[in-house]
């Protein structure tokens, strides 16, 4: 029983990590339809930000808290720069965007290697986040890892903040207007260029936050972004492009599915099965879990 509950929690926590790394993409890919392969490197930038801050801020807890907003700004700025320099030239050419940003990703990885060295770097986690919380005591205790609980909380907070921003603020309204009808938004006096830039800033900034969270559970190195990027895209695609709730549901479903399969088979087999399940699902619902029905041609 505790094994099953523990495994369910594991699934949810894998889902939380997936959600956090995919959340930024729900803006840049989901809303703006930009396949940004350098998104993984923005996650990396967030993680390295944590590492740099720890060198100047003594307490591991404090530096982690400070790292969240700073990483948001650093990765956000990188994203805005990328949008301004390259992506705005490529809005109607999705595959070109993919290939160009892949080139950017190669360069950012090499840059990280030259600045921080090829080996992984180390960050200290605050002690409260390296242990676990006992939920059911006894011989066979059920424990939840506190780092995972922190990431789950962070993911939920980020989702709430993002959906409130999109729904309630003038900026959010402008982003949604541009997404739904770029030309109409333009003639209604919205500067679509600036909205694109802001949306990209926020989306990439969220990647930075994901990077901070990943320092608690994974390695911090030049290639850390490439390890997660495809999973993140899959969450958005399966959830339905432009659908925040779809991404949330899919992240947790995939997390639980993966943890169950990992437990009953092996990690490799689980990975293959999850990917095959996704391909099969997209045959059934090619537009993902949630779609907006329109009468447009495409």
């Amino acid at each position: 029983m505790t094994v099953i509950l523990g495994q369910m929690f594991t699934g949810v926590s894998i889902g939380a990590v997936l959600l956090l790394i995919a959340l930024g993409l729900s803006l840049t890919f989901g809303q703006m339809n930009v396949i940004n392969m350098a998104h993984g490197e923005f996650i990396m930038a967030g993680a390295y930000t944590t590492y740099v801050l720890q060198k100047s801020i003594a307490g591991a807890g404090l530096s982690l808290i400070v790292a969240l907003p700073v990483a948001f700004l650093v990765s956000g700025a990188l994203g805005a720069l990328l949008e301004w320099l390259l992506i705005r030239r490529l809005y109607l050419r999705p595959l070109d965007t993919l290939l160009v940003t892949w080139g950017v990703s190669l360069m950012l990885q090499q840059l990280a290697r030259d600045i921080f060295g090829a080996p992984n770097v180390q960050t200290r986690a605050p002690d409260v986040l390296t242990g676990n919380i006992t939920v059911i005591g006894g011989d066979d205790p059920l424990t939840f890892a506190s780092s995972r609980l922190f990431i789950l909380g962070l993911a939920v907070a980020a989702v709430v903040a993002l959906s409130l921003t999109l729904r309630l603020t003038p900026l959010g309204r402008r982003i949604r207007a541009v997404v739904q009808n770029r030309d109409l938004a333009e003639v209604s006096g919205i500067s679509t260029g600036r909205v694109d830039l802001t949306a990209f800033f926020i989306g990439s900034g969220l990647a930075g936050i994901a990077g901070v969270a990943l320092t608690l559970v994974g390695p911090i190195g030049p290639t850390m972004g490439t390890n997660v990027i495809i999973d993140a895209f899959l969450v958005i695609v399966v959830g339905g492009i432009g659908q925040l709730k779809g991404s949330v549901i899919v992240a947790f479903v995939l997390g639980v599915l993966q943890s169950v399969l990992e437990y009953s088979t092996t990690v490799s087999v689980a990975k293959v099965l999850v990917l095959v399940a996704i391909v099969a699902f997209l045959q059934w619902r090619p537009q993902g879990l949630y779609t907006v029905r329109t009468r447009s041609l495409v």
Binding site: T10, V17, T130, G131, N132, P219, G221, Q258
Partner: protein, 406 residues
């Protein structure tokens, strides 16, 4: 069009060379370029991609040895000129670059490779061209290429002693965790055979894809198994995630120690002693290994690359390999690979890990096995060693339990 095809067919047919099994393979081994007052050697390491994490340090260490040798007069009066190539963590690229070093640069010997996959990819290249490769990383054994010198440990110098150690500590139930590639799978096969013969039980065996960083399920499984110890053959990034998850699951080095065979000082530094303190490693060298040779090596390395840079077993094995090659060349009085090979048996070197001796028959080296414990300072302290260098036995012929393995 048809003309082109016909032309090509004619050219192709007229150009056919030797058949397989005809026994008359061409005798055009690439000749090393020994003119000039320098001698070129190849450094073949991944400088980009996932494996760069580890292999860059090996390249640095090779360069240190070459600089030292050049400063003291070179080899046979020639300065060594290193040609560095990037294997890019991609096996076919390794093969391509190995070819380039041998055929284009005409190097006298090549140093490098890390993963077994990259070694397997270049092995035929070195064999076909009769050129020498010095391979500095511990590996899964079961291999003896006539053109490769293995200066890292084979299984009976690392894994078998680690199992002996666990057995002597009374750890009977073990759990195997590894990356999904050749070394862990082969090593685990050997571990299972050993366990069967020595009254130990293997409670579980899990593999994660290379580069995988999601280990919460594996940590759960390990925890649920209630094993005495974990034998860890994970590689690279995965180790970081695994140990963070291990600690989060409430597993400790005192209750369930993890013996790792791919975690050296460099990895300890990137994972953090916060997560690793008290865990065990199995190697032939640590930065803390006593001896004058090691003191000099560590001091020289830090002087060249930075005080915060640790030294590790593969780095040491790489460093040693250059000196071994120098000694072989000087004994043979020639850079010719065949003569170097012939001269190799019995060559010794006071390496940072202690005295090593080349076993000419297997082209491996005698090495002392050392079990270490990670300290809170991030250094690894030796807790046990084999007392004397162990004779390399890549096919485990001297172990009756291993008879069914190869």
């Amino acid at each position: 069009m048809a003309g082109t095809a016909a032309l090509a067919a004619v050219v192709a047919l007229s150009a056919c060379g030797a058949k397989t099994n005809s026994g008359s393979t061409s005798d055009k081994a690439a000749q090393a370029d020994t003119s000039g007052d320098t001698i070129k050697v190849g450094l073949l390491n991944s400088l980009s991609g996932t494996m760069a994490i580890s292999e860059v340090t090996v390249r640095d260490s090779l360069k240190l040895a070459i600089d030292e040798i050049n400063a003291s007069g070179g080899v046979l009066g020639k300065k060594i000129k290193p040609i560095s190539e990037d294997g890019a963590s991609d096996w076919p690229t390794f093969a391509e670059k190995a070819s380039k070093l041998i055929k284009e640069d005409r190097v006298a010997a090549t140093f490098g490779c890390w993963t077994s996959a990259s070694r397997k990819a270049v092995k035929p290249v070195f064999e076909k061209n009769r050129s020498l490769l010095f391979y500095p990383v511990q590996y899964e054994g079961l291999e003896e290429s006539p053109y490769i010198f293995y200066t890292g440990a084979t299984t009976n110098q690392q894994i078998v002693p680690a199992l002996d150690y666990l057995k002597s500590q009374g750890k009977k139930k073990i759990y195997l965790v590894g990356s999904d590639y050749v070394f862990p799978r082969t090593a685990n096969k050997e571990i299972k055979a050993y366990a069967k013969a020595n009254g130990m039980t293997v409670l579980g065996e899990d593999y994660a894809p290379l580069g995988s960083t999601e280990f919460s399920t594996i940590a759960n499984k390990v925890k649920a198994s209630k094993a005495d110890a974990v034998f860890n053959t994970l590689n690279g990034d995965s180790n970081v995630a695994f140990f963070k998850e291990y600690k989060s699951a409430g597993l400790t080095a005192t209750r369930m120690p993890v013996v790792s065979v791919s975690i050296a000082e460099e990895e300890v530094k990137s994972i953090g002693s916060q997560y690793l303190a008290g865990q065990l490693t199995a190697w032939n060298y640590y930065q803390t290994t006593p001896g004058a040779a090691n003191t000099t090596f560590v001091k020289a390395y830090k002087a060249k690359y930075g005080q915060d840079k640790p030294t590790s077993d593969p780095m040491e094995a790489a460093y040693t390999s250059v000196y071994l090659w120098k000694a072989m060349v000087e004994k043979a009085k020639s850079f010719d690979p065949e003569k170097v090979k012939a001269a190799s048996d019995g060559i010794t070197f006071e390496a940072p890990e202690g005295k090593v001796t080349v076993d000419g028959a297997s082209q491996h080296i005698y090495k002392t096995a050392r079990i270490g414990k990670v300290g809170t300072d991030g250094l690894i302290q030796e807790v046990w060693n084999s007392g004397k260098p162990i004779k390399p036995d890549p096919f485990l012929k001297g172990y009756s339990w291993a008879s069914g393995l190869s």
